[in-house]
Symmetry: C2
Subunit: 139 residues, 2 copies
DNA sequence: CCTTGACTTCGAGCGCGCTCGAAGTCGTAC
DNA sequence: GTACGACTTCGAGCGCGCTCGAAGTCAAGG
């Protein structure tokens, strides 16, 4: 009931890949240039993105969204290319990043509290319940 | 039992202000240059930061930490200078910013989930409880 | 044939938010 | 006096992450 001998190579043009991942074609080329991606070429020299490529782009995008510097992403990707024995180091990078993200969320949450407080001072609504502290060195 | 006639003007040098707010003196000057701060001078032309100035710097720092563009902060500060009648507009800016921060926290939280998932794939620990989904287009 | 359009490479440019440093001015200490 | 150190102004520089665009290649369509 499964398909015949050879697997069909499902690949995508750069425009397609851009549409599917939500990053621009320019950025896809840029990522490749700086070594974050290794993309195959068709006989005419055009990029073909397979599922793995797209998955990587999506993952990169998550890392970027969470502010991992491109420098660090490049290190991670280099480790991936070096083979399975680098998994511990990759794990370490991800764990360090995890900690950074948690810290960043914390920072944002604190800033949010300050902004929310200011909003209530201005008499606006924030959608949250407040325990108001006093002290309003106003601005 | 309270103090005599004139209030003592408690002000701080730029080095002091920098130490108290955690931003560099260079940055304090920069913020002033671009109009985020109005700082008094002593007879020798040196900056003196009062409590209000420090409070503003601290608030600015929160806005910056939460990624409000300097352009927007400048607009806000300009409104403050224009007087009380601009409070509705200030409120609007803060509310828009609040929404942006909430959205950003959300985004980070999603990215965190992805990173956490990857960490467990690598066999590491994240400190969180996971409901594992399958699908591992690995990298 | 010629055009169109999607692609290629690669260097340059941009917007942001600082960050630095040169050159000058003070007040105090020795 | 002179040396120090903390400050001043202001223009330039930097690191980051794209973003753009020029010039060229190629295949399909009319």
């Amino acid at each position: 009931m499964t398909s015949p001998a050879v697997a069909p190579p499902v690949t995508h043009s750069i425009a397609d890949a851009a549409a599917r991942t939500g990053v621009t074609a320019h950025t896809l080329r840029y990522y490749e240039r700086i070594g974050l991606l290794d993309v195959a070429r068709d006989p005419n020299g055009r990029r073909r993105y397979d599922a793995t490529d797209l998955a990587r782009v999506t993952f990169l995008t998550r890392l970027r969204q969470s502010e991992m510097p491109i420098r660090d992403i490049a290190r991670y990707v280099d480790l991936v290319r070096e083979g399975d024995h680098t998994e511990p180091q990759r794990l370490a990078i991800l764990q360090a990043h995890r900690d950074a993200v948690v810290h960043r969320i914390d920072e944002l949450t604190q800033a949010l509290a300050v902004v929310d407080f200011k909003i209530t001072v201005y008499g606006g609504s924030t959608g949250s319940i407040h325990t108001l502290h006093t002290e309003s060195d106003c601005t």
